[in-house]
Symmetry: C2
Subunit: 261 residues, 2 copies
């Protein structure tokens, strides 16, 4: 690894073979030295889960000038932990996760393994970005994102990010019209509304399959969903302080509760 080039740690939650991941590696290698740590299995909806009871195995898959690729049996959060602590020669200048097949806008961030990895990096003081595409197609086209991803990443490498803040960047899928630009916005409150399909297995035992529709009831122009629906990239500054600060003062009345047994 070259000390003069940025060191970029990459992971994702779609598994090592995902097209979006390979695109991200290609783009990041033009900006710096890359260490890739991906998971053996697809880890969508694994959120911020990490491995605390099982053994974590890591395998070096490939090594060449400016690039090393590892694979592990854990989650995207494990990949970040292992990556910056055990698999890089120095602290990475940047952690990048993605490019996710499927959007991580609105409240879907809560379930996302891609964003779990980004938050984990951020909690450990590392500069971090998550990139996602609003298409679940395994063969989705990512080429319309090249300039946007390179330029956003260069700016972050140059200027850094505020302490405790990472970026959640989502892109609309390719259309006839070129990307209109970037919108800095808030996470919309829209969410999946799920239902369970009852089914029966070979032995006659009932099980449930989760299905759902996405409910878009919070799409004002300051939201990430509005940006995506209008062919902009959305960029949401994201943090790991989940306190509803505006509620602290009004809820001080809870301090009056008598808890004497």
């Amino acid at each position: 690894m070259n000390e003069n080039r940025p060191l970029i740690l990459i992971t994702n939650d779609d598994g090592y073979a995902a097209k979006g991941l390979r695109k991200l590696v290609t783009l990041m290698r033009t900006l710096g030295d890359v260490v890739l740590v991906s998971t053996d299995e697809v880890m969508s909806a694994k959120s911020h889960s990490c491995t605390i009871r099982d053994r974590l195995y890591v395998r070096l898959m490939r090594q060449e000038e400016g690039f090393a690729e590892y694979r592990c049996n854990g989650t995207p959060v494990d990949c970040v932990k292992l990556g910056y602590q055990k698999l890089t020669s120095r602290r990475p200048d940047l952690v990048v996760s993605g490019i996710n097949h499927g959007m991580n806008a609105a409240t879907t961030v809560v379930y996302s393994g891609t964003i779990g990895a980004v938050i984990e990096a951020c909690m450990n003081g590392l500069t971090a970005i998550g990139y996602s595409l609003f298409s679940l197609d395994p063969d989705a086209d990512f080429d319309h994102l090249d300039t946007a991803i390179l330029e956003i990443t260069k700016k972050v490498l140059k200027e850094g990010l505020p302490k405790g803040v990472c970026l959640n960047v989502n892109f609309p899928k390719r259309s006839e019209e070129p990307l209109k630009g970037i919108r800095v916005c808030r996470q919309a409150a829209c969410r999946w509304v799920e239902y369970f399909k009852e089914q029966y297995d070979e032995t006659g035992q009932r099980f449930f399959d989760l299905e759902g529709t996405f409910e878009s009831d919070d799409i004002t122009p300051d939201t990430d969903l509005w940006a995506l629906q209008n062919n902009y990239a959305s960029l949401v500054p994201t943090h790991f302080d989940w306190t509803a600060h505006e509620c602290i003062e009004p809820m001080k009345k809870y301090e009056q509760i008598s808890i004497k047994p």
Copy 2:
């Protein structure tokens, strides 16, 4: 189930046999009818992960007047989804998760299956509380929490919570001094600092075990960690909007980036 009594859905992340869960069931049954949905396995550090690829099986374990107990092969988030959609006769008045063996204060909320369940309920418009004890002891004493848990829960049942906000309540472990009271506070920025212990398995293959120490560098009197260290219960109003709102305006400069290919 009695239509005149509150309907309370309970889950946790320590598995169906956990002492903290059984305590919570006993307490909640004095306040309403209870449906318990717990997991087959211990689900600590499963965060907000949910089952989207595997079959979800649910089994009714016990049913009596005012109480039903189910067990499923999913995560705490799955328990909430299944519970309010498939296993209760009507929408629950309250979802309660815990009592967790181990604190979920500061940034540990990010990893917590207990809090994952609470956030899931909140995202679906349900009133929700998570209770945790600052002790990992499987045989920990929970009796000093009875009054506090009952009184907080009664207040929430009576008054509700602001839209999109749930409660993350943590308790110090039993000491000679009685609980001092309740503090409404913010999530401290303290975090686990981990390291990986390298070990070798029976075949000589290297693996890693995650270990860590908790770094407490943000303990001002307005934080949950301060409350716990000073023998108060901490109550953090918690939400699922991860936007760092204060960064939106200063980051508008990202909208100037040219993304023309």
